[in-house]
């Protein structure tokens, strides 16, 4: 079955509790430019303004400079500082943003490390509209 929508799709914002307030911000922490592109589009569909960081250290520096984000997508494997260390550090700093751990690895050990570090949820890549919709529905 096909539908004739093509590139004239109208952008629909998906209702989400987190973005009912104006200017909800999401930080995408990943060293992969494809992930930046994909996650930006996904999150903007839920009404987030999106920002990116290349690694955990950059993410921490953003918070230390006074920035705040409502949601963070945190990749596991990154140079300089990985997602586990970054998550632990952010939580120790008292950051209460929702943090989603993401990884291409489907090893349960990665999920356990992320949960111990303090994420709100873990997703195996790729992130999709459905996965995010289910997460936002349950918070």
């Amino acid at each position: 079955m096909t539908s004739q929508i093509g590139s004239s799709n109208v952008k629909k914002i998906i209702t989400c509790k987190m973005t009912t307030k104006k200017d909800a911000k999401a930080l995408i922490v990943d060293d992969d430019s494809m992930a930046h592109t994909l996650h930006k589009h996904l999150l903007s569909r839920f009404g987030f303004k999106t920002f990116t960081a290349e690694n955990g250290k950059q993410a921490i520096e953003l918070f230390r400079s006074g920035e705040h984000f409502d949601l963070i997508t945190m990749d596991f494997q990154m140079p300089v500082m990985d997602g586990i260390e970054a998550t632990k550090t952010l939580r120790d700093m008292g950051v209460d943003s929702k943090i989603l751990g993401v990884s291409a690895s489907d090893k349960s050990a990665v999920m356990e490390l992320f949960i111990e570090a303090g994420v709100d949820h873990f997703f195996t890549k790729p992130l999709t509209l459905d996965k995010l919709a289910r997460f936002f529905k349950n918070i």
């Binding site: 539908s3 093509g6 590139s7 629909k12 992969d32 494997q77 999709t128």
Partner: protein, 152 residues
């Protein structure tokens, strides 16, 4: 109108074959659904990034496996990234090779790794070729005044 219908049917048949052969999975459809009037080139953008990243990674893997003393952590990093990017666009067979690849470098099996690298190259260039054909069909549809069908 007949020309447009014919091109659209050709497009749908071709894309269906890519799903049937396991070259693409549902994630490709998810990416197409993200394309809209504010991002009319989104699929092209993501796929182009995949091509650029993949060719760098294949090059880096070849170098890493050509060393006297192979650094399997570097191999892991490349394959892990390749797995992520291929999953992100739905290049299923490329992703599956990455999974097998891990078994080889976990065991420090150089011969196995070299075989996997060749398989990875073969599958990557196959899916690249198919996606380029798909985009050509899209251009033909648009040039004829039609819209690109989204399967779902």
């Amino acid at each position: 109108m007949d020309v447009i219908n014919q091109l659209q049917r050709q497009y749908v048949d071709f894309l269906s074959s890519l799903y049937r052969e396991g070259l693409l999975d549902d994630q490709f459809l998810q990416i197409q659904k993200l394309q809209d009037e504010s991002n009319p080139e989104f699929v092209n953008e993501v796929v182009t990034l995949f091509f650029e990243d993949s060719e760098k990674l294949l090059h880096n893997l070849a170098i890493a496996l050509d060393q006297q003393l192979v650094d399997y952590k570097k191999v892991d990093a490349c394959v892990h990234q390749f797995k992520g990017s291929s999953s992100s666009i739905g290049a299923q067979r490329v992703r599956n090779i990455c999974v097998s690849f891990r078994t080889c470098y976990d065991a420090k099996n150089l011969e196995g790794c070299l075989r996997c690298l060749q398989q990875l190259k073969d599958e990557y260039y196959l899916v690249k070729n198919k996606l380029q054909t798909l985009f050509k069909l899209e251009q033909q549809i648009l040039a004829a005044g039609g819209v690109i069908p989204i399967m779902g």
